[in-house]
């Protein structure tokens, strides 16, 4: 800071104490203390070759390719630019004869053992080693000896293959596994010339994030089974898009070849995913190429079977069903779903529902939160980086929102913020939590209220910004209990911002676009209950499958069988669409353009990469057709028109007018004036000590259609089981692994007993939607909590 004479009227110049200035190849570059030379150089036009350096991971100086000269008192000195911090006045040269010689020498050494099999290597054409051997290599090698040989390739997990001959030991995959994913299941083993990346013997690299190692591998050592030998990089068409597997909304590049999806790659979007994807999102493109996709409209024939028909017949029949139902009452028509499509799809269907006077529409399947959570002060994903306290009042992020898990894990790992885990069981972040509030279902709000007397806890909340990640951590517990718990947190930390994590990719967009009950319309549970009572004449399933997705099997069954007519818009024949009267084939992800809205309300684009399969169409187009057939002109007939109508028609979406931003990092929706939540009386729901309180949540690999129809993912799921605390096992009297009878007030199922210390005593964890017994048979969406009896089979 400069000292100034008091008489001087010039405003004081505030100098950032962390700002430094370095000269790279004669150009002055502004940098910050602690930054590495290579990062500063990346802001200039001069490229420093590198293999191990990755901007999202700690530097290791492993490959030595990024050697540059730093001018010092004894003349220029060769340093690795990824490990040398900038200093004020530093002079760096990246292209002198000496640097060139050093870099060529490094490449010659790296290529000594690397096989020159580029023509048959999947990486060829997009390989940093190949590219930099051309741009910074010596052109030829003096190495004439035999190269190192290994068995090639070996599977280190279900989907990742390792070719150790091609590996240059850059430490990117092993660093990623340890530092970013927290699954250090691969490591360097042996020493010297035998050093190799390897798993523990017979223990695969079964990480939810393993696909990222393939993407960041700078050579062809790691390849992913779903892409191996499918395409060559120069034949691939790329479009930037947003993943819609879950609601995090990771930015991706969708790649296709010969009109077939072949690969998704993560895009480094600072506010969202930093380039990372989970394996489920990365590999489920296989389901879009599935042979089981619906290609033509189906209609129930005289014998009650679904048979192929034309679009005109299907739309006319659907329109007749809707018109007939409307004659009795608009309340007899209902729409369930819409959260799997784009904002435009949801908007078009909401407009159609408005035109028809249908108020019962719900894009959440009785497993969400009231839309009022969007009216609380909102947090963004990036706020996690700067928050002092991150309160998890949410499902297990590792299982349900994996890339968000990485961000929260990093905050804990880097000690930028403390994580408070409020959950009925230990989640994937338990090991990183500063405080764990493990409390049995029905008592969460009371436990949080009791925390207000915990001085350390309240001091932590007062120390700075607080982000509350809120969602349904237990599907066997009512949504009210989550709202009450949230109200307690917001009472203790009024300055907290909220990141609502609702399930299904575009649930926020669908709700914002209007696919949520209005004017006293019914929610999904109410629609199904009304249908069971014979009050629903026409039920529209918009990419929804209540029979396998509503966490109450009995309600879904009664509802679906009670609805007089069902029109399903879907990509596959599901349990529910199989019972529909008309099934209209929908275009899937990658087959249509549009925008999607993620958990933080970020609108970003989804792009079309391939032609829709068969005669399938985007949902919005089906809405337009059905509108026309029921004499309602929705006012748009092309994608651009529906997009424009949505931006002008829905005030929250107005910011999406910035097309450039939508096609990159996205724009945040406007959200309404903040509301405050009222606290409940804090009473907890007591439990009979003979019973076990149910905790029901999802695992990443379940029977979701996108997983089940992707061969590379379908085998990764486990069978359903009831998991209790090891100390409760003797009380049940059955052995671990043995089948037990589980009874709730709703029903009885038989499933294997398992134990885990992650589960609280007196509770039982039942992962939902897996193979084996259907947990939903036990659930009742009208109950606040579900208590179970667990009995040994006689």
């Amino acid at each position: 800071m400069t000292t100034l004479d008091s008489s001087d009227t010039t405003p004081e110049v505030v100098v950032d104490p962390n700002a430094v200035s370095v000269t790279i190849n004669g150009k002055v570059v502004a940098a910050r203390k602690g930054e590495m030379i290579i990062a500063a150089a990346d802001r200039t036009d001069d490229f420093i070759p590198r293999f191990c350096y990755h901007p999202r991971m700690e530097p290791v100086g492993m490959c030595r390719q990024c050697l540059v000269e730093v001018v010092g008192p004894r003349g220029p000195m060769m340093v690795v630019s990824c490990m040398t911090p900038v200093a004020d006045g530093q002079v760096v040269n990246t292209a002198t004869e000496g640097v060139k010689k050093a870099q060529e020498g490094m490449l010659e050494l790296l290529l000594a053992n690397h096989p020159l099999d580029c023509p048959v290597c999947d990486k060829g054409g997009e390989c940093p080693l190949q590219d930099q051997a051309f741009s910074h290599g010596p052109g030829e090698s003096r190495f004439v000896e035999e190269k190192r040989h290994y068995e090639k390739p070996i599977a280190i997990s279900e989907n990742v293959y390792l070719d150790r001959e091609r590996c240059i030991l850059c430490d990117r995959c092993t660093r990623f596994a340890d530092e970013v994913a927290g699954d250090a299941l691969i490591s360097f083993t042996s020493r010297g010339n035998n050093t190799q990346v390897m798993t523990f013997p017979d223990e695969p690299f079964s990480s939810y994030f393993s696909g990222n190692t393939v993407q960041i591998c700078p050579v062809g050592a790691l390849t992913a089974k779903p892409y191996r030998f499918k395409a060559r990089p120069w034949d691939i068409e790329h479009v930037e898009s947003t993943c819609t597997t879950c609601s995090v909304g990771c930015r991706t590049v969708v790649q296709s070849s010969r009109d077939e999806l072949v690969r998704y790659q993560g895009v480094d979007s600072q506010p969202v995913n930093w380039g990372w994807l989970c394996d489920k999102g990365r590999f489920n493109f296989e389901s879009i190429n599935s042979k089981d996709r619906l290609t033509t409209p189906l209609i129930k024939d005289a014998s009650g079977n679904l048979s192929a028909t034309s679009w005109s017949v299907a739309i006319d029949s659907a329109a007749r069903m809707v018109r007939t139902a409307l004659l009795s009452s608009p309340q007899s028509v209902a729409i369930i779903g819409g959260a799997r499509g784009t904002n435009e799809d949801a908007f078009a269907w909401a407009q159609l529902a408005n035109a028809l006077g249908v108020d019962s529409r719900d894009s959440q399947l009785a497993d969400g939160l009231p839309p009022q959570v969007f009216s609380l002060p909102q947090a963004t994903i990036a706020d996690i980086d700067t928050a002092k306290t991150i309160i998890l009042l949410a499902p297990d992020l590792k299982e349900e929102l994996p890339v968000l898990y990485l961000r929260v894990r990093r905050a804990a790992e880097k000690r930028t913020g403390r994580v408070v885990e409020v959950s009925p069981r230990a989640t994937g972040l338990a090991g990183k939590a500063w405080k764990k509030v493990h409390v049995e279902p029905g008592k969460t709000a009371a436990a949080l209220r009791a925390l207000s007397t915990d001085a350390a806890f309240t001091a932590q909340l007062a120390s700075g910004s607080v982000v509350v990640i809120v969602g349904r951590m237990n599907l066997a517990e009512s949504e009210e209990s989550v709202v009450y718990a949230l109200a307690e947190v917001l009472h203790m930390a009024p300055h907290a911002t909220v990141l609502p994590v609702l399930r299904r990719a575009n649930v926020r967009g669908a709700i914002t676009a209007g696919l949520t009950p209005r004017n006293g319309g019914k929610s999904t549970a109410e629609i199904l209950e009304a249908a069971a009572a014979g009050k629903i004449e026409c039920l529209v399933l918009l990419g929804a499958d209540p029979l396998s997705d509503v966490p109450d099997a009995d309600l879904a069954r009664r509802g679906i069988s009670g609805a007089r007519n069902i029109i399903a818009i879907d990509t596959f024949i599901t349990q529910s669409s199989a019972l529909a009267d008309i099934v209209l084939p929908a275009a899937a992800y990658g087959e249509k353009e549009g925008t999607t809205t993620n958990i933080e309300g970020r609108i970003s684009n989804v792009a079309q990469s391939i032609t829709p399969v068969g005669t399938s169409r985007p949902d919005w187009m089906i809405a337009v057709e059905l509108g026309a057939a029921t004499s309602h002109d929705l006012g748009f007939a092309s994608y651009n028109e529906v997009h424009a109508a949505m931006i002008s028609g829905v005030s929250e979406f107005a910011s999406a007018v910035d097309t450039h931003a939508v096609e990159h990092d996205g724009v945040i929706v406007a959200h309404p004036t903040p509301i405050t939540l009222t606290r409940a009386d804090g009473a907890s729901i007591e439990r009979n000590s003979y019973d076990y309180r149910a905790v029901v949540s999802r695992k990443l690999y379940d029977n979701a259609i996108g997983t089940a129809k992707s061969p590379s993912l379908a085998t990764l799921g486990v069978a359903s089981a009831i998991i209790v605390n090891p100390l409760d096992v003797p009380r049940i009297g059955a052995q671990v692994g043995e089948s037990v009878r589980v009874t709730s007030p709703r029903g009885t199922i038989v499933m294997p007993l398992q134990e885990s210390v992650d589960v609280l005593r007196g509770t039982a964890w039942l992962p939902i939607n897996l193979g084996g017994s259907d947990v939903r048979e036990l659930l009742d969406v009208t109950k606040d909590v579900i208590d179970l009896k667990i009995e040994k089979m006689s």
């Binding site: 340890d178 699954d183 250090a184 299941l185 691969i186 490591s187 360097f188 083993t189 042996s190 020493r191 390897m198 798993t199 523990f200 013997p201 223990e203 000690r415």
Partner: protein, 204 residues
Amino acid sequence: MSRLNDANIKIALEIISHYPRPKSALIPLLHLAQEQNGYVTREAMVHLGELVGVTSAEVYGTASFYEMFRFEPVGKYLVNICGTMSCALMGAGDLMHHAEQKLGVKAGGTTADGMFTLAHAECQAACTEAPTLQVNYRFRYKVTNSDFDTLIDDLKSGRLSDEIPSHGVVARIRQRIPADRGVGAIAPELATENPAWMNGKAAL
């Protein structure tokens, strides 16, 4: 079954307590595991990972860096004959040939009775005493063929069992550091004050 036994778990916990971070204790713990079974078993590596809070892959990665850790059963006595320059000039090749004849196994092999594993070794840093060998890392210098025969016979008969414990035992007397004599190192990220040596004369 080849995890650490109860007595060794106690020792392991004591070793871990000497380090600011549990995983820093990995190398002495691997020696402990090797002492228990004569080699580092797969189960022991899993167990050590649990004890210090790292994955089995990280334990294996660390262990496999070091030549002294073995992951397959070895004989009670591991005989390493140096084959590097000085020893090679002084007849190490002939010595190895003789050893192979004497033990009836090729270099790298283990005798059927599980007593001896014969192996090549790189320089043992005793070039003036070439040719050298090590039995369970205990030196023998200027080894002749008859010296070798005597050594094997002595080991077989148990005459050397006081001097040379079985493979995996680093020292016959275990170093114990009472809690009050430990340096009390704390992890750098938890340190609240400078180390004593940074306080200049005040530290004296």
